[in-house]
């Protein structure tokens, strides 16, 4: 198996509107791929297609070499709107346990697994709190823990840090990079922030708008582990940013 995810000439028409067109893409196992696009470029739709939450009207999508027929447990997703994606009536531990219940983890093992996963995202001390008692950043960590609990090997992230303040955001970026490195997950990460894309990705895909199609793909050969100061000042980072920014700004306008 060479590709973790394959998109072959994928397009989708929703309500007579062409949202995505001619998207072809291969994601390597363990790759951290970031898709950047302005609002209206169909980024979220692209992610929903890979997740199996929507069906393409054209082309085909393979995950692990098999066509996507619907949601599958090997693919986990972290939604942007954490306030709506977490179960408000369950504690942090309960929300993580939900994913374990879905994969049929025996009851006896759940508590330990939940504790380990919460520790991994830095929420060990907040296991008994309800989502409403957690900050936005903590709620997003919780969603990540729940996605990890699912035990898949593809992690989709839909503008997960879009609603957070800059400082929280940087902390979570490093956290996600650390988790991806530790687990070897294949990650498809969506953002509208070019700098975030370059900081996180092995590869960055630029999505144009109306209809959404791939404008450019750039490999980001910056050393890992990355860090907020050094990486962002790296001449190669700045060069890539300058190069892609022209494209990006041209299409966003």
């Amino acid at each position: 198996m060479t590709s973790a995810i394959t998109l072959d000439d994928v397009g989708i028409v929703l309500g007579g509107l062409r949202i995505l067109e001619g998207i072809s893409l291969d994601v390597r196992p363990g790759e951290f791929l970031v898709v950047v696009g302005a609002s209206g470029s169909g980024k979220t739709t692209l992610l929903r297609l890979i997740a199996g939450l929507s069906r393409p009207t054209q082309g085909r999508i393979l995950v692990g070499g098999e066509p996507v027929a619907g949601p599958s447990r090997k693919v986990a997703i972290v939604f942007q709107d954490y306030g709506r994606a977490l179960l408000p009536w369950r504690t942090a531990a309960g929300n993580v346990a939900l994913a374990l219940e879905s994969v049929g983890t025996p009851r006896a093992e759940r508590a330990d697994r939940v504790a380990a996963l919460l520790a991994k995202v830095g929420l060990a001390r907040h296991a008994d709190k309800y989502p409403s008692q957690l900050s936005g950043g903590m709620q997003q960590r919780l969603q990540i823990a729940r996605a990890l609990a699912q035990g898949g090997w593809v992690l989709l992230m839909d503008e997960p840090f879009g609603a957070l303040d800059a400082l929280t955001r940087q902390g979570l970026q490093d956290e996600v990079l650390r988790i991806a490195a530790e687990t070897g997950l294949t990650v498809v990460f969506i953002t509208h922030d070019l700098e975030e894309a370059l900081y996180l990705g092995d590869r960055v895909v630029l999505l144009g708008s109306h209809p959404g199609r791939i404008e450019q793909t750039a490999a980001v050969d910056l050393p890992r582990p990355r860090n907020q100061l050094g990486t962002r000042e790296d001449p190669r980072f700045l060069a890539l940013r300058r190069e892609l920014f022209g494209h990006f700004a041209g299409h966003a306008a």
Binding site: A51, L53, R84, E101
Partner: protein, 259 residues
């Protein structure tokens, strides 16, 4: 809590003043009436009725019919409302039938219930069940429809089947609105039960009220009327408090506003 205590004064001031005025008027005129009694006599009669068990017995009869009817009508309404909200075809097919049947005033079924069941619990339960079925159906229908679509996405991603989705996602998500439906339906159930008893069924508080009027015992009549109000008001407050307590930690529920 201090806020609740401070609002108690103004809340009680108006009824207390009105009762006092009545009492003084009775004392001043020395009037004896078949229709109204001094408030003090009504309170005494209520206390006596509660102490000798006569009002307690009526209360038990009324509440038994209320709760049984609520259980039957509410349970069926909840099931029907959830099913309709989750299945599009059935929903479209049922819409006019629901609109038509729920337009029939519940109390109009009383003669029919009388015809089928005769006097007693069964006819009262039937009418209460019919009266609560429709509002619970409609409220649980909209409660299930209002479940956050993102949570359905989550459920699909985790690969839950229909039963797990219902028990783990849909019903807990709809629980606050379902609790509100229960509170409103319990109010309706009590009203309908008492109405059945006033109109036809020879048992319970409604019948006690009617007999007190017919036998020209105004103190007892006002005592029972007051007691019915106390039961309805207390039940509503208790259910409201329960809702707030149960859902206090939920960000998707506004528990600050009293209904």
């Amino acid at each position: 809590m201090s806020l609740a205590l401070r609002s108690l004064g103004p809340a009680l001031a108006v009824p207390a003043a009105a009762l006092l005025a009545f009492e003084l008027w009775f004392a001043a005129t020395g009037r004896v009436s078949d229709t109204i009694a001094p408030p003090s006599q009504a309170f005494w009669r209520l206390a006596a009725g509660l102490a000798d068990g006569s009002i307690v017995a009526m209360t038990v009869e009324t509440l038994a019919a209320t709760l049984a009817g609520l259980a039957v009508g509410g349970g069926l309404g909840l099931a029907a409302g959830s099913v309709l909200a989750l299945t599009r075809r059935a929903d479209m097919t049922a819409r006019y039938v629901v609109e038509m049947l729920r337009a029939i005033p519940s109390i109009a079924l009383l003669p029919l219930a009388l015809l089928i069941f005769g006097f007693g619990y069964r006819m009262e339960i039937f009418v209460v069940a019919f009266a609560t079925f429709w509002p619970v159906l409609i409220l649980s229908h909209s409660a299930v429809l209002a479940v956050e679509p993102r949570l359905i996405d989550v459920s699909r991603m985790l690969g839950f089947g229909p039963l797990s989705t219902l028990s783990k996602i849909v019903l807990p998500a709809a629980a606050p609105r379902l609790a509100t439906a229960l509170r409103l339906a319990s109010g309706i159930a009590l009203v309908v039960a008492v109405t059945c008893e006033i109109t036809a069924n020879p048992q319970g508080l409604g019948n006690g009220l009617m007999r007190a009027q017919e036998s020209l015992q105004p103190a007892l009549m006002w005592a029972v009327l007051l007691w019915i109000g106390v039961i309805g008001y207390t039940a509503n407050r208790a259910l409201l408090a329960m809702e707030r307590r149960l859902f206090a930690h939920r960000s998707d529920v506004d528990t600050s506003v009293a209904a």
